[in-house]
C-alpha cells in the first residue's frame, strides 16, 4: 500500500512557473533516489505536462508527492486544470496530434517517459493527469 512521505503543490500560471516545476520535480526525484536517467525522464515529462496545463488548460496546479511502497520509492505528479477538457483522449494520446489546441507530443511522450500514467478529462470542466516514476 503506497504511502506519501512528502508532498507539495505548485501553481502553474506562467512560463516561469514551468521552470519552477522542473526544478522542484528534480529535487523530489533526487530525494526519491531515482537514477540520473530516470530523473531526466520524469522532469522532462513534467515539463511537457506543465506546459500543456499552461497553454491548453488555462493554467492550473501540480501536486508533487514522494511515495513509498514496501521499500520502493517513487515520485508521483498530478497536473490539474479547469480548462476546456479533452474531447477525444485516444486521439490526443497519439503523437503529433494537433487539434486547435495542439497537444503535439506532450501526452504520448509523457506517457512513454513514465511508469504510470492516468488521465481524467471532462469537457467544460477540466483535466487531471497523473504520472509516476519509480526507482528502478
Amino acid at each position: 500500500m503506497p504511502t506519501t512521505t512528502r508532498t507539495e503543490r505548485l501553481a502553474i500560471r506562467s512560463s516561469e512557473d514551468v521552470v519552477k516545476v522542473r526544478q522542484l520535480v528534480r529535487t523530489f526525484a533526487v530525494e526519491a533516489g531515482l537514477s540520473l536517467v530516470d530523473q531526466t525522464k520524469i522532469v522532462t515529462a513534467a515539463s511537457e505536462l506543465a506546459r500543456n496545463t499552461l497553454d491548453y488548460g488555462g493554467g492550473g496546479e501540480v501536486r508533487l508527492e514522494i511515495v513509498e511502497d514496501g521499500g520502493r520509492k517513487g515520485v508521483r505528479l498530478a497536473f490539474e486544470d479547469r480548462g476546456p477538457g479533452i474531447a477525444d483522449l485516444q486521439l490526443a494520446l497519439k503523437d503529433g496530434y494537433t487539434s486547435g489546441s495542439g497537444l503535439g507530443l506532450g501526452l504520448g511522450g509523457a506517457r512513454r517517459l513514465s511508469n504510470e500514467f492516468s488521465i481524467e478529462s471532462t469537457i467544460g470542466v477540466g483535466t487531471k493527469i497523473t504520472i509516476a516514476r519509480w526507482k528502478a
Partner: protein
C-alpha cells in the same frame, strides 16, 4: 529580461545555453540569432547544450526552428554537447530532431561547418573553369 549571449566564432555564431530557459527567453534567442546571422553573414550556428539537463519538446522545436531558419539564410546549424541522459530521454519522448546536425563538442561542430564551407569553395572554383 536577460538575453542569451551570441558570440562570433570565425564564420560561425556560438550560443551557449546555460540556464533553464523559460519560453520568452527561447523565443528571444530565435529572433536574435536570425538577425545576427544576416548581420554577420554567418555560415554556421553552433548551439552548445552541454549545460542543459533537460530538453523537452518546446526546446526541441526551438532547435528545429533555428536550424530551418538558418538553412534558409545559408547557414548550417550544429547542436553540440548533448548529455547522454538527455539523448536517451529524447529518443523515448519521440523527438528525432532530424532537421538538426549534431556533434560531440564545439570543436567537432566547427569541423563540420568548415568541412561544408571547404566543399562549397571547391565547387565554386570548378564553376569558374
Amino acid at each position: 529580461m536577460d538575453r542569451i549571449p551570441i558570440l562570433k566564432l570565425g564564420e560561425a555564431l556560438l550560443v551557449t545555453i546555460q540556464v533553464d530557459m523559460h519560453d520568452r527567453l527561447a523565443t528571444a534567442l530565435e529572433e536574435d540569432l536570425t538577425s545576427k546571422i544576416v548581420a554577420h553573414g554567418a555560415k554556421g550556428v553552433l548551439i552548445d547544450i552541454s549545460a542543459l539537463e533537460i530538453v523537452d519538446s518546446f526546446i526541441g522545436r526551438m532547435l528545429d526552428n533555428i536550424a530551418a531558419v538558418s538553412r534558409i539564410l545559408d547557414a548550417e546549424t550544429v547542436v553540440v554537447g548533448m548529455r547522454p541522459a538527455v539523448a536517451i530521454t529524447l529518443v523515448e519522448l519521440g523527438l528525432s530532431l532530424s532537421g538538426v546536425r549534431t556533434a560531440l563538442n564545439v570543436d567537432r561542430g566547427m569541423e563540420l561547418i568548415q568541412r561544408r564551407l571547404a566543399s562549397e569553395h571547391v565547387d565554386a572554383d570548378d564553376d569558374e573553369d
